[in-house]
Amino acid sequence: MSKRLTLWLAVLLLLIAGALPVLDMLLRSLFIDGRFTLEAWNGLLADSRQWLLMRNSLLLASLVTLFTFVLGVPLGILLGKTDLPLRRALTLLFTIPLLIPPYIVAVAWSGLLQLLAPGGDIAGAWLFGLPGCVLVLSTVFLPIPLLLTQVLLRSVDPQMEEAGRLATGWRGVLAGITLPLILPGVLLAAVLVFLLALGEFSVPNYLRYAVFPVESFTQFSAFYDFSAATTAALPLAGVALILVLFEALLLHRHGWRLHSAGGGIDFLRIPLGRWHGGLLLAVALAGLLFILLPIGTLTIQSLGSYGEALRRAGGSLANSLLFATGGATLLATVGFLIGYLIQTRSLRSWRAVDTLTLFLLALPGTVIGIGLTGLWNRPLTDIIYATPLIILIGYLARYIALTSRINAAQLAQIPPSMEEAAQIAGAGWYRRIFFIVIPLAWRGLLASWLVGYIFSLRDTGITLLVHPAGAETLPVRILTLMANGSPALIAALCVIMIAATLVPAGLLWAILASHRNKRSGEEVLA
């Protein structure tokens, strides 16, 4: 009973944090002045600007998905499956843009292009608009297919690859066996990138490319036109829902059951032989060009401005760290319970809950922010809306998919018999969770906390819309200072933001690396 009650409470929290605001938005668009009407929807369909925004949003998301897929999967194979030197360091390097607020990457590119052509207008002509958005968002989301490909490659049964190696070389095995096996997972990465690019607000806003999330934010913040903002947000919610259902129905059905072989050989690496040097050089150059150069430029620009940066945004940094810590704790706790629910299928609604979490991740932060404002901005609920609690609720809604899936993946590694043995011995559910499951799944719990921390810290869309007075976070402060702050000050704030993110990211990396080191039987197969 305690098990079902606790899991239902976690689901209820998720419904209140995420589903209710979206439902409220939908109802507000359908019921105006207390009566049912399709007026808002008809207006939306008749407005040519809405179609332009939809075209721009879909074009941007498609191009970003194409680039990240075409580059990320081969890079994931190269860094995750071969014996390329420095592959861990290079993976970490390519992951950095995902860990920081996306607009910081845009600021860094802008700085680099200004440096390359001072006084010229290269940045204005090239970076601001669709090409710049595609470049920045491709850099930001490239780690998703890259990392997911690496994880999926590790879950392919090495004996299936060995069975293929008896017939053909590694190229044939990759094309015929390994890639088809991981394809459903890779397609999921593509769907995820598409949704995240579709909902991205800060980069198109900074690079002045008209897409739905920017329109929705502008209607809300500049004109406080709640109805227009809601109407502009709903098409995105619709597209997100369609793709999430596609993922749930199609990809789940066609997903192959991947195994790790267990004892003996866990993983096979492809020897690169004479390609070693050339490929290392190519990957290192890509890392230098797309990550180190822009961020290095930002760092150089920031020198001498750290005093002013801390004076003007020290409070925001403290807020960021505090809210990120609170958000991570909430996300890890609820994520563990939802992950447990998904893994053990303890409630019949487990698949619906899993789909809901992915849908909320796919929604733009600004849409969740507008939904939360509409639902909670009432005198009766001021205790939530007028305090940082509203920010934490927003983080919970948007990022629960990440922490629940990390925990579910970790819990999948624990044989069910572990908990069953404790149950037979007479332990109740809480005792089993605290004394058996958590000690075995602590790595996943910690990793989910750190992922929750990083994503709460880098959040811009939700916090920008719902933060109460005096509770501004650093990414929001940087965005507001961009209007009148000097480039050096902005650069210094961005570097502080990067440092605040990379310290816990380094910790996460160390944990994952130590976990990986404990795996045995890795082999380079000729």
């Binding site: 004996q159 060995e162 088809p180 192959w256 039987g521 000729a526």
Partner: protein, 226 residues
């Protein structure tokens, strides 16, 4: 004629010696069974022969050609003309039964008519003609075993390696599959190395039986009635 020869082969995994100065020769048409407890090095020996590992010391000759010597693999697995049935079968779940059998034939560049003829012959040989379109996940344990055997045999290998493929079967099915393996070997005439920890299974399949203990080979006579 010797199909496989191991000369003074030693191999360590994670600094633990697994095989120690192994000398072994397998003649054409032989059904050699390597019998021994878990962890004695049987699977490592098979993986060396298949080309997934190279001996740290010693040499390996396959079909008269030097295949590996002193830490270096000289012939890759796909050029050794070996078929193998893995302990967990390792059937590819995204291919049908036909696709699993045909993969190795495609990789060897066989023309389509010959591929189809060989797949049909293999399906008939293992009695799965009606299940060609099924995915491995839709088959029973025994049917999966037969697909794995058909996949290993389709390219007409000189040597077939069986890595405890019957260990997970119930006694009745295990007994049927033993007879099936012997029948297939006698029909097609390939050389077979079969590893197992089941003495009864070893006695029934072997024309020659050797034991393994802690990485070394111990000759074991077959029972008189085998």
């Amino acid at each position: 004629m010797k199909v496989v020869e191991l000369k003074a082969v030693s191999k360590s995994l994670d600094q633990v010696p697994v095989l120690q100065a192994i000398d072994l020769a397998v003649s054409a048409g032989e059904r050699l069974v390597i019998f021994g407890p878990s962890g004695c090095g049987k699977t490592t020996l098979l993986r060396l022969v298949a080309g997934f590992l190279a001996p740290d010391v010693g040499s390996l000759v396959i079909g008269g050609e030097l295949a590996a010597r002193d830490g270096r693999s000289l012939i890759p697995p796909e050029r050794r003309n070996i078929g193998m049935v893995f302990q967990n079968l390792a059937l590819w779940p995204h291919f049908s039964v036909r696709g699993n059998i045909e993969f190795g034939l495609k990789a060897r560049g066989l023309p389509r008519p010959e591929r189809e003829q060989r797949v049909a012959a293999m399906l008939k040989l293992v009695g799965l003609e009606n299940l060609a379109r099924r995915k491995p996940g839709e088959l029973s344990g025994g049917q999966q075993q037969r697909v794995a055997l058909a996949r290993a045999l389709a390219p007409h290998p000189d040597l077939v390696l069986l890595d405890e493929p019957l260990s997970s079967l119930d006694p009745a099915l295990n007994d049927r599959m033993r007879k099936e393996i012997v029948r297939l070997q006698e029909t097609l005439g390939f050389t077979l190395i079969h590893v197992t920890h089941n003495r009864e299974e070893a006695d029934e399949i072997a024309t020659r039986l050797i034991g393994m203990e802690q990485g070394s080979i111990v000759e074991r006579p077959l029972p008189a009635n085998a």
